[in-house]
């Protein structure tokens, strides 16, 4: 390398390099201090703070959201746990009504809620979690079936959450805004599915693990064994969490991981038939229907095509499920995801579409119930 011009002498060059590093550190720490997260995890951060914090490690995010006590923790720490110990109590079944329990993400729960308001002979129960993948809600069904008989059980499968089927927690596959709830990683074995249940299944056990380095290491080991999304560099807290620059780089890395993982599951034309998550989802839905029927209930599977998908789930699962005798409906005909008018600002279906989906669900339940159509007056009370 030779030198030309007074601005590229070696001392000038080295001084500029040094000043670049100094300025980078100063800017990094200035941004970190100028846009801090609120001390209280229940208070939503500003958009800029949220953006700059997106790459913080999952462990650091969990520690912050759990705080020191339930009353100080972010509300999301209480959602979606498979351990029923702190599930909210159900309303007792009212006379002349029947339980329809929806196991699914918020999209499915909104339809179930609307169903009750449109058709009062249904009494709606909700079991789910934010962005819950089918492996999670199937686990909720397994716990719930031993506690309450559902006359109708609806399993909601969300297209964008299918990625989470080969995870074991909402904290790993949703890196930027993790949900701490855990669930089994199900594996298809012949005609059935089996899974290892998580050792941390409640908000209390997660809090205890966060306070105990040994238990936390054990939990990480469990994730490394069961969760295809687990990456130590993304999950584990470190001093890099204090640097805005490293957080931004980690966020970019996490997004790359998500893109690669998603590309294995689907492209823009649809889901890939051989993908493990798809095979597991299909097996879970069929096993769910078998178990609901064994309990004397009516199973329904709702395929929810959200933003970014078209009729992908319907094409990937619809025909197979119907061929296996599973009553199944897809949302894409009523709520086309390719039409931006389908969605509210928070990316859920608009109210009037939920009403039409609830009407379609009611029809499907009647059809699946056979003669009598699920009308309470014509069925034998249990």
């Amino acid at each position: 390398m030779t030198t030309t011009g007074k601005y590229t002498t070696l001392p000038d060059w080295l001084a500029t390099l040094l000043w670049t590093l100094v300025a980078l550190v100063v800017l990094d720490q200035a941004l970190d201090r100028a846009f801090p997260l609120p001390a209280d995890p229940r208070v939503p951060p500003s958009q800029v703070a949220s953006y700059l914090d997106g790459g913080r490690s999952v462990e650091a995010k969990l520690r912050r959201m759990f705080s020191t006590h339930d009353t100080l923790a972010a509300p999301v720490t209480l959602s979606g746990w498979v351990d029923p110990v702190r599930w909210p109590a159900d309303r007792p079944l009212e006379s002349g009504r029947r339980f329809v329990t929806v196991f699914g993400p918020s999209f499915a729960l909104a339809v179930g809620d609307t169903l009750e308001s449109l058709h009062p002979h249904w009494q709606f129960r909700a079991r789910g979690g934010p962005a819950a993948p089918v492996s999670h809600v199937y686990a909720l069904w397994r716990v719930d079936r031993s506690r309450v008989h559902s006359d109708v059980a609806v399993l909601g499968i969300l297209a964008s959450s299918l990625r989470g089927v080969d995870a074991a927690s909402g904290a790993t596959w949703m890196f930027e805004s993790p949900y701490p709830y855990t669930y089994p990683r199900w594996r298809v074995e012949g005609d059935s599915v089996s899974g290892e249940w998580p050792s941390l299944a409640s908000s209390d056990s997660m809090r205890a693990a966060l306070a105990s380095p040994a238990r936390w290491r054990a939990y990480e080991g469990e994730l490394a064994r069961t969760d295809a999304w687990y990456r130590p560099a993304l999950f584990r807290a470190s001093w890099l969490d204090h640097s805005v620059t490293f957080r931004l780089l980690r966020k970019a890395w996490a997004q790359r991981e998500t893109r690669l993982h998603t590309a294995r599951l689907h492209d823009r034309h649809g889901f890939k038939p051989g993908a493990e998550a798809l095979r597991t989802a299909r097996a879970l839905a069929i096993q769910f229907a078998r178990e609901v029927r064994a309990d004397g209930g009516v199973p329904v599977v709702m395929l929810i095509e959200d933003r970014g998908y078209d009729d992908h789930l319907e094409r990937a699962l619809g025909a197979d499920l119907r061929a296996a005798g599973v009553p199944c409906m897809s949302t894409h005909g009523i709520a086309p995801p390719t039409d931006p008018g389908t969605f509210t600002a928070d990316a859920h279906f608009r109210g009037e579409l939920n009403q039409r989906l609830a009407a379609a669900l009611d029809s499907l339940i009647r059809e699946a119930s056979g003669p009598g159509g699920g009308n309470p007056s014509e069925t034998v009370p249990r």
Partner: protein, 472 residues
């Protein structure tokens, strides 16, 4: 492989130290191997096309150097141009013309029932075909002696920094750099690294960050308001500039740290005050290529006024078609030709006189720049639209009341990056020096570089999109 990828980072991390250690011939072999690996990473089958057309052009170049007879030389040139254009036409335009012809027959009540071929468009084919064609034309015109060394010629055509999206280099300038030993100066290295950094800001922070907002409007199925069309088109102007100028900057920066100088492809195009000015600033390597190899041979402005306008329309129409096999690109080209003709008619072909830098003149200049930016943006509407009906609907929306603005906000790095870009462009404009920052004290330069680095880190979190010009 794309410049914005982990695999390229690994590639350049291995390639560059080796390159710096090797002597000239070794550098050329490494460049060739690296360039073929770079290109073949997308699809190794594309390599055969690149090697095939390059071999033909090298051979034709030799023939043109050997044969004294002008008629025979012309035949060799025509053979080479025909082969290049046939390859380009087949891979890029076959389906387009087949579909268009079928539609035309449909209008006449006839139905063609051929099957559209599933032709994969080799990445960057328009760029390297034009570069290779310029070599044979220049040898034919005796502006250049034919390259005797096949591998040096192949290194010139496949030079990876600018292979897939330009700048379109002339053999007259690039081939001698391949043939002779190169020096990487500290000054060149510093400038190269700055160009790479600034190019990354334009691509990953700005272009990728506004892409979602543009797509939200241009991919919308339902009706849109005039305000949405206006803002989304302004954002597309930023997106395409960030994307293409970003790529060009990275390409020029990479070339610079390898000891090459590539032509400047963008010179503050949105400071243009009229269409002629714009085309002296936007995609300069293409506009000069079209000027030298199409417009001037057609007669340029040497004939009657009508012929000059015809030549302008033909050149710009074909320039539009060069961008892609779709009618909206042709329409964009015709629009550019139309405004060039209108400007020529208005000014009579005279250049505007330089005015003193008084406040009034500066204000007049700023207003002209802003007004002409709107004219440019209407061209971008034609360019970005997906169909004629969308062009009609969006044009009609511009003439209605603005209505509600529903364009989603671009990402934070895009907003910050655009603000930084505007400030740096204004500083460059005022200094009339692309390296205006060079005179700053080291702490100020350090702050600039650190700020740009931080913007790139922020931008890496944007949804990554392929460089728009790869498809051309």
């Amino acid at each position: 492989m794309s410049f914005v990828s982990i695999v390229f980072l690994v590639f350049i991390g291995i390639f560059y130290p080796l390159y710096r250690l090797l002597p000239h011939r070794g550098q050329n072999w490494l460049l060739l191997a690296g360039s073929l690996l770079f290109y073949g990473w997308w699809d190794w089958r594309f390599l055969f096309l690149l090697l095939g057309t390059s071999t033909l052009d090298w051979f034709v170049g030799l023939k043109l150097g050997e044969i004294p007879d002008e008629a025979r030389r012309k035949r060799w040139l025509v053979a080479s141009l025909t082969a290049n254009l046939a390859v380009l036409g087949f891979f890029k335009y076959f389906n387009f013309f087949a579909d268009s012809f079928a539609h035309l027959l449909g209008f006449a009540g006839l139905h063609a029932s051929w099957t559209t071929l599933h032709i994969v468009l080799p990445i960057g084919i328009s760029f390297y075909t034009f570069q290779s064609m310029s070599y044979t034309i220049d040898v034919y015109r005796r502006h250049l002696k034919p390259g005797k060394d096949y591998f040096e010629f192949l290194t010139f055509v496949s030079f990876f920094p600018q292979l897939v999206a330009g700048p379109i280099e002339r053999a007259v300038t690039l081939l001698p750099r391949v043939q002779s030993p190169r020096r990487v100066t500290r000054d060149g290295f510093t400038r190269g690294m700055y160009l790479i950094l600034f190019g990354l800001v334009k691509k990953v922070a700005i272009s990728d960050g506004v892409a979602g907002s543009v797509d939200a409007i241009y991919n919308r199925a339902g009706a849109v308001s005039g305000a949405d069309v206006t803002v989304a088109t302004w954002l597309f102007a930023i997106q395409i500039y960030g994307d293409f100028a970003g790529y060009s900057d990275i390409a020029r920066g990479l070339a610079k740290i390898l000891g090459f100088d590539l032509v400047t492809n963008f010179d503050q195009p949105y400071f243009a005050v009229n269409p002629s000015d714009f085309w002296r600033r936007w995609h300069i390597s293409l506009s000069t290529w079209l000027r030298d190899y199409l417009y001037v041979p057609l007669g340029g402005n040497r004939g009657s006024t009508a012929k000059t306008y015809r030549n302008l329309m033909l050149t710009m129409g074909l320039g539009g078609l060069w961008h892609g096999a779709a009618w909206n690109y042709i329409l964009w080209g015709i629009y550019q030709g139309g405004i060039l003709c209108a400007h020529r008619l208005w000014t009579g072909g005279r250049k505007a006189a330089t005015r003193a830098a008084t406040f009034v003149n500066q204000a007049r200049f700023a207003i002209t720049v802003l007004l002409f930016f709107q004219v440019t943006c209407y061209g971008w509407l034609l360019f970005r639209a997906r169909s004629f009906s969308q062009i009609a609907d969006y044009t009609a929306a511009l003439f209605r009341a603005p209505g509600a603005l529903t364009v989603p906000l671009p990402t934070l790095p895009a907003i910050l990056g655009t603000a930084v870009l505007v400030v740096l462009e204004v500083l460059q404009w005022r200094a009339q020096d692309v390296r205006f920052y060079r005179t700053w004290a080291p702490p100020a330069r350090g702050l600039l570089y650190a700020g740009l680095l931080l913007l790139v880190c922020m931008g890496l979190g944007n949804t990554s999109t392929q460089f728009i010009y790869f498809q051309f």
